[in-house]
Amino acid sequence: METLDRAIIEATQAGLPLTPRPYATVAEQVGSDEATVMARMQAMQESGIIRRIGAVPNHYVLGFRGNGMSVWEVPEDRIQACGERVGALDFVSHAYHRPKHPPLWNYNLFAMVHGRDREEVMQKVEKIATLLGDDDLGHEVLFSSRILKKTGLRLPGGKP
């Protein structure tokens, strides 16, 4: 990764400056100019290093207190279709295909489901089950009982 990109990431991973010209503010911090920073960030957005620039509401404060990790066993040859259908649901924030570890762990599709409380999460999980139909070979919902650590992701090789 380019040195300038890395510097831009370090300068913005906590957030975009709330100044009228935020990209100029970032440019000052990284020793570049506004046009260059804008062009680099545009390039990072196009290449997918930046997923998007935007606001992340605090789900808990906004009333979403139920967050369940739903895990599904679906036929491996159906994973693409199942993943796309589940991922398209408005109450699913992340959907991933992950490896099984049989016999202990037979689930290969993970979908984070958000709701006001656990009951609402379970209702939504039932909607997923209905949607998957015969492709649902078994599922469970794992709720978190405790946060043991939450430091957030840091830039690889970045300053601690």
């Binding site: 620039i53 509401p57 650590k149």
Partner: protein, 172 residues
């Protein structure tokens, strides 16, 4: 002007949780800001002005409201969301089955690794779930082995094979 385009399609199917929110938590303008800025933010010289125009408020008001919502944690963050793997590092979800009597001690041992970003206790036989974020993809395996050696329990590695969707638009 290409840099200033922001997707503004509204999702009518999205969550409507307005009824849950006390009026003082978010007024109509706050809600409009959150709904619009979850979808994207322009890259141009005056992006707040650009975004404020389509919200029908001033640039100053948008900046002040964002600051206020960040200050009292109604917003978790505002800015670019980076894709960890595409920055060159390794990322994986890992799980362990730890007997209750050893759980707290193992949690301390696991959390001591700086590569462990999040760690959650979950109600399941696999009762400890953590995210590993490493400088290089190869380092994931090394850290896994170190955790196994330190704790004496197997670590189940569940790196994503494919991502179908990441993101969530809460219509507020």
């Amino acid at each position: 002007m290409r840099y200033c385009s922001v997707a503004s399609a509204s999702s009518s199917a999205a969550q409507n949780i307005s009824d849950l929110l006390p009026d003082l938590l978010l007024d109509a303008i706050d809600r409009a800001i959150i709904n619009q800025l979850q979808k994207g933010f322009p890259i141009c010289e005056r992006p707040y002005q650009e975004a404020a125009q389509s919200l029908g408020i001033s640039e100053t008001e948008l900046i002040q409201r964002l600051q206020a919502m960040l200050d009292d944690k109604r917003l978790s963050r505002f800015g670019p969301l980076y894709h960890a793997e595409r920055m060159g590092g390794g990322l994986s979800l890992c799980a362990m089955a730890v007997p209750a009597e050893d759980f707290d001690e193992v949690a301390v041992q696991v959390n001591r690794f700086p590569e462990v970003a999040h760690n959650y206790a979950r109600d399941h036989d696999l009762n400890m779930w953590f995210v590993l974020a490493t400088e290089t993809p190869q380092r994931i395996d090394e850290v896994l082995k170190e955790i196994q050696a330190r704790t004496g329990y197997p670590v189940y590695n569940m790196p994503k094979k494919q991502e179908f969707f990441v993101g969530l638009h809460f219509e507020v």
